[in-house]
Structures are given as structure tokens and as C-alpha cells.
């Protein structure tokens, strides 16, 4: 299962997280669904769908939190028959990120939750604080999304 990253600093924390939590799929992305790092995806299309849907779920639950006057939800956990999904934000100097983790029966939500905290802390430490990314111009917003995809799957 390949682990690829757009920016090198994210690779080491991701590998440790995958090893510790025993997760099957992991996506590290921006709240708009742009993927920074991934583990376990073979095809860009699947990754795109997962990223878009993960970002959408975070956006939807964020809006729900607003309606309830909550600041923001912590982690979201969906228990399935064969898989569980763990979706949680994590703040980094590079801006808020979202981590989507899909895990099987070989691990448990407790462990994933536990090691996600460590992973989030690691990402926070590893993320370079240099110039916050240039604001994406409206025109090439989509190009920017696709650029990260191509870099993930070019190697």
C-alpha cells in the first residue's frame, strides 16, 4: 500500500500514524478537500471522491455546530460492519487540516483516536510555518486541487 505526500514534511508523521493505528486508508487534506498526503489509495479518482466527501462532511457538521452554537466538533466516528471511519480536524501553522482515517476490525476506534492525537501533534510540529500558501486565485482554484492529485500519483 503506497503512502505518498505532496509536501515531504508530512510523510514521516503519516507513516508512524499508519503503523501505530493500523489504519487501512488515511487522507490528510485541507478543509476544501485538497489532498496533502494519502495512504492506501490506488487511484486518484477514489482519492478525489474521498477527499471531496470528507471535506463536505466536515463542512456540514461545522455548519451544524454553528446552528447549535458550538465552536466546532472534535472527531467524527462512523462505526461500520467491516470498517470504521474517523474524521477529525487538526490545526497546523499551515492552516487547519482534516484527517480522514478508515480502519478495519484489526484495530479499534480507541487506538485510532489515541494515535490520531499524537499524529495531529506531530503534524503541528512538522508543518513548516513559512509563507502561508498564496491565496488561490478564483480562476485556478480547480487547477490547484488537481495539481496536488497529479503530484500524489505521478511518482
Amino acid at each position: 500500500m503506497s503512502t505518498t505526500v505532496v509536501e515531504p514534511w508530512a510523510e514521516e508523521p503519516l507513516l508512524r500514524y499508519v503503523a501505530q493505528s493500523g489504519a487501512r486508508l488515511v487522507v490528510v487534506m485541507t478543509p476544501s478537500g485538497q489532498v496533502l498526503a494519502q495512504h492506501g489509495f490506488a487511484r486518484a479518482v477514489d482519492l478525489m471522491a474521498a477527499a471531496a466527501l470528507g471535506a463536505a462532511i466536515m463542512a456540514a457538521s461545522g455548519a451544524l455546530a454553528q446552528q447549535l452554537g458550538e465552536r466546532a466538533f472534535g472527531a467524527l466516528f462512523h462505526a461500520g460492519q467491516r470498517h470504521g471511519i474517523h474524521l477529525a480536524p487538526c490545526a497546523t501553522p499551515r492552516g487547519p487540516l482534516v484527517v480522514l482515517t478508515v480502519f478495519g476490525k484489526e484495530t479499534s476506534i480507541g487506538l485510532v483516536e489515541l494515535f490520531h492525537e499524537e499524529f495531529a501533534a506531530a503534524l503541528h510540529r512538522a508543518a513548516p510555518a513559512e509563507a502561508v500558501r498564496a491565496p488561490v486565485l478564483a480562476a485556478d482554484f480547480e487547477a490547484d486541487l488537481n495539481r496536488s492529485l497529479t503530484s500524489l500519483f505521478r511518482r
Binding site: 484495530t107 479499534s108 476506534i109 480507541g110 487506538l111 483516536e113 489515541l114 492525537e117
Partner: protein
């Protein structure tokens, strides 16, 4: 149910040297009830204890030794005690090295029986 769990933790906490006790869901590794002293990372203990329990019962199954009743892990700085309460609970205790193991084990097994009914 929850106060029964809490009472069993209170009794366990009275054993000298006990640093923390908790009920953990075996499947998820999430805490169900806990009575911890300061500084004990409950979430980590629960998750790891559950993982440990699952691995141990896996090994017991593999060697045909039947179901696991009690796990004791002694380390340099402390002792981790785990007793499965089928079908989906574990009682976990974290104690100093010189804790009265027998008393702690007795309380934990009594708690397991109380929950099983």
C-alpha cells in the same frame, strides 16, 4: 448499571497502591467508567489495555488454552491488571509495583462476577 460499575471501581481503588481503575469496552477500546488519579492518561490506558486483551485472548485461543480470565503485566514502574468481563467489557487497573496483587485480583474478579449477572 453505571453505578454498579462505579461502586466496583471505588472498592478496587481502596486497595493500597492502586493508581487508577476503569471499565473499558473491549471492542472499541473506549473508556466506559473510570476512577483515575492525576497524571494517568486514561484514554491511552483504555485503548492499549483493550488491544492487549484482544492480543492475549488471541494467543490463548491459538494455543487452545480457552478464555482468558486475568492478565497481569508487571513493569519496572508499575503493574497493569486486566480482567475481561464477557461479552464486551474489561476491568483495568493500574497500580504501583508493590500493590497487593491478590487483593486487587480478588476485587476485580468479584467485580467481573457482579457485572456478569
Amino acid at each position: 448499571m453505571s453505578d454498579a460499575l462505579q461502586q466496583s471501581l471505588d472498592r478496587l481503588a481502596r486497595v493500597r497502591g492502586m493508581r487508577g481503575s476503569m471499565w473499558v469496552a473491549a471492542e472499541d477500546g473506549l473508556t466506559v467508567a473510570q476512577l483515575l488519579m492525576e497524571g494517568v492518561r486514561g484514554k491511552a490506558v483504555a485503548a492499549l489495555a483493550a488491544s492487549l486483551a484482544r492480543k492475549v485472548s488471541g494467543t490463548a485461543g491459538a494455543v487452545g488454552a480457552g478464555t482468558v480470565r486475568f492478565v497481569q503485566m508487571e513493569t519496572a514502574s508499575g503493574t497493569l491488571l486486566v480482567a475481561p468481563a464477557p461479552p464486551d467489557l474489561l476491568i483495568v487497573a493500574l497500580a504501583d509495583p508493590q500493590v497487593n496483587i491478590g487483593l486487587a485480583r480478588l476485587e476485580m474478579l468479584r467485580a467481573v462476577r457482579a457485572v456478569a449477572r
